[in-house]
């Protein structure tokens, strides 16, 4: 058996085994993942996509801190029922400033990709503080602590914006210098609501299919 005798060589040489596994397991990633990561087609921002303001960025980082994405997706699939329910389907260009992406993998709650503007700020605040006050059967957790905590308690907004600037987000040095003032006196609740209201706005002008 040629196969078996070839394999005898590999399984008697640990260096060869390691090398073999490395090569064979890399092929898929090199052909499938690398072109997308290096190409521009899926990384370029959509026309009209704005970078997150300091308050929205703070809200987004709170969304990550509370792991809202374990229950909420941000991805409308191009299916009729889904577009009817949530709005225009998602395009790659909308997510160019999302680090990390927050598409999620489970809809315990509804999709939030088009939530911006669906409710007013008051509703959003009430809902976050006690979801059952507006949706009696809701199984979403309440987030009462958001109201009593100041946004950016750790005073890290500038460090965070600078990190994103280095990754290529179009923040100017002036934007970064002005950021702490923009968060002054705001609560975590306001920041999170600002983020939610920003979701889907770059598609506001898109016609409903």
């Amino acid at each position: 058996m040629k196969l078996v005798s070839l394999h005898r060589k590999i399984e008697r040489n640990s260096g060869l085994l390691i090398f073999g596994i490395l090569v064979v397991s890399s092929i898929g990633g090199l052909v499938q993942v690398l072109p997308i990561v290096l190409g521009d087609a899926h990384g370029a921002p959509a026309a009209g996509l704005a970078v997150y303001s300091p308050l929205e960025l703070e809200g987004r980082d709170l969304y990550i801190r509370e792991s809202c994405s374990t229950c909420h997706t941000q991805q409308v699939r191009p299916l009729l029922a889904e577009v009817k329910r949530y709005g225009p389907y998602s395009r790659a260009g909308e997510f160019a400033y999302d680090r990390p992406f927050l598409w999620g993998s489970k809809r315990t709650g509804p999709d939030l990709a088009r939530i911006g503007g669906k409710y007013n700020d008051d509703w959003q605040r009430m809902h976050l503080l006690d979801p059952r006050s507006v949706v009696p059967a809701s199984i979403m957790p309440a987030y009462p602590w958001l109201a009593s905590r100041d946004a950016d308690q750790g005073r890290t907004i500038q460090a965070r914006m600078r990190a994103l600037q280095q990754l290529g987000h179009p923040y100017s040095d002036q934007d970064i210098a002005a950021a702490p003032a923009a968060l002054e006196g705001r609560t975590e609740l306001e920041a999170l609501v600002a983020y939610l209201q920003s979701l889907g706005r770059s598609m506001a002008g898109e016609p409903q299919p």
Partner: protein, 476 residues
């Protein structure tokens, strides 16, 4: 411990920690299951709210329980299949302490709200670095031991453990690339759709090489050992191993069907997922044929029963997976409880059960005494079977309902059911899953007691590497 014997104390240490993380991680799972039924039981505590505890659950069961079990059994079997002691035992203990410390502190950091936002890789960059260092040390100990082996061939189980080590290192390093902003916050080097493709290349293959490949290493050593039979077909092992290593990597995009990524990538991911059925089932056939030669033992030995049942669930999960990867099925299953059912038929039915069977076999050998109570182990077997069946059935029911109701349109082409109506209909399923989880958890707790009692009655034993005798681990 004498200098000539195998290093088994470190195996005991990893086994004990794996058991601890299993109980704690599943407790977190039961708690989040309860929160979906009674949403107010976090009592307004940030650290107890669903998002954080769910993240803790996946981190503890995957990296606390799963990885501790894998490193422990790798250290046990690599010595016995190589007929030498561990290479660099000091480094091996470093792996142990570094890993457990990373899980303890990492778990606390998640409850405190540190989170990178990437699924199954939520730990922030300082932990990513620590994990990478510990993993490289693991690789050095493992491959160092193999390089010094006194056997000519490297046994099959070590190919799988080896693939686990190499591929997970590659996935972890690439997917964790990030720009730190503060000690507890970093931003992914990749953005948006590109980040999604990298993340699921990581996420799917963490499942592939950790939850599948790593545990297949466990299977290939402990099943033949336990059944006292050589592996049924050596040639099938070779083919299925390399097909597995090659194919798995391509399948990640089945997590992104109909998302904003290129169409060709989705289709390729779907085709490769279907092909994956072949090597997955080839391994299952190999395992079942091996154990069928020892069917006598199956009736009396609770440990072997666990392993055989785990093979059945492995077969189920690796059949269901390719079906879910078909785009027209995924349209319904995606984002629903069906995925959760699939996850736990694999995680409970395959990963947890094979580990339980292995530990029931391993701990009496480490302790040098018979199992404290075989009856208790039998009770555990039935609790585990009932728990996992109930869990999976509840989630199938819930998932198929969600999938169909969400997409259903009325005569006018409008959505027929509001989101909140469908949410309310999930309540009985969530309650059933909570009960199922509780049953499964109680079984695992019985096991922890049983193993602790067994170990408490231990006699000092030292097993030395045989001079030149062949025979560890079935055929070598």
């Amino acid at each position: 411990m004498g200098t000539a014997s195998y290093q088994d104390r470190i195996v005991t240490a990893f086994t004990a920690c794996a058991m601890f993380w299993a109980v704690l991680g599943m407790l977190a799972g039961v708690y989040v299951a309860a929160e979906l039924v009674w949403p107010t039981i976090n009592f307004g505590q940030p650290a107890l709210s669903f998002g954080r505890v769910r993240t803790l659950h996946t981190t503890l069961v995957l990296f606390g329980f799963g990885v501790s079990a894998l490193i422990g059994t790798a250290f046990y079997s690599v010595q016995r299949t190589s007929h030498v002691r561990l290479f660099a035992p000091g480094l091996a203990w470093f792996v142990f302490y570094a890993w457990q410390l990373a899980i303890v502190l990492g778990g606390c950091s998640i409850l405190a709200g540190w989170n990178s936002g990437k699924e199954y890789a939520e730990l922030e960059w300082p932990f990513d670095l620590a994990i990478a260092v510990a993993w490289v040390a693991f690789a050095i100990v493992f491959f160092g031991t193999i390089a010094r082996r006194r056997m000519e061939s490297i046994y099959i189980s070590n190919w799988f453990y080896g693939a686990l080590i190499i591929v997970v290192a590659m996935l972890h390093i690439v997917n964790s690339l990030a720009m730190p902003a503060t000690l507890g916050k970093s931003y992914s080097l990749f953005a948006g759709a590109q980040d999604a493709v990298v993340q699921w290349w990581y996420g799917h293959n963490a499942v592939g090489f950790l939850l599948t490949g790593g545990f297949l290493g466990m299977l290939y050593y402990f099943l033949p050992k336990h059944a006292e039979q050589p592996i049924w077909s050596y040639r099938l092992s070779i083919v299925s191993f390399w097909a597995f290593v090659y194919t798995y990597i391509w399948a990640g995009p089945h997590h992104l069907h109909y998302h904003a990524i290129p169409e060709w990538v989705q289709s390729l991911g779907m085709v490769m997922s279907l092909i994956l059925l072949a090597p997955s089932w080839a391994t299952m056939v190999n395992g079942i044929m091996t154990v069928s030669a020892a069917s006598q033992k199956l009736r009396t030995d609770p440990a072997l029963k666990f392993i055989v049942l785990s093979l059945a669930f492995y077969g189920l999960a690796t059949f269901e997976g390719p079906m879910l990867a078909i785009k027209s099925v995924n349209v319904f299953s995606h984002f629903t409880e069906w995925t959760i059912g699939h996850v736990h038929s694999g995680a409970l039915g395959w990963n947890a059960l094979i580990t339980f069977g292995t530990f029931y076999f391993l701990v009496p050998r480490l302790a040098g005494v018979p199992l404290y109570s075989a009856r208790l182990a039998n009770v555990h077997f039935w609790l585990a079977l009932a728990g996992v069946m109930l869990y999976v059935l509840a989630m199938w029911g819930a998932g198929v309902s969600q999938g169909v109701l969400w997409l259903s349109l009325d005569e006018l082409g409008e959505v027929r059911f509001s989101f909140n109506d469908v949410m309310a209909a999930m309540k009985p399923y969530y309650l059933l899953r909570f009960v199922a989880g509780l049953v499964f958890l109680v079984g695992a707790m019985l096991m922890a007691v049983n193993l602790a009692r067994t170990f408490a009655g231990r006699r000092t034993i030292e097993v030395a590497p045989p001079g030149s005798r062949v025979g560890a681990g079935g055929r070598t």
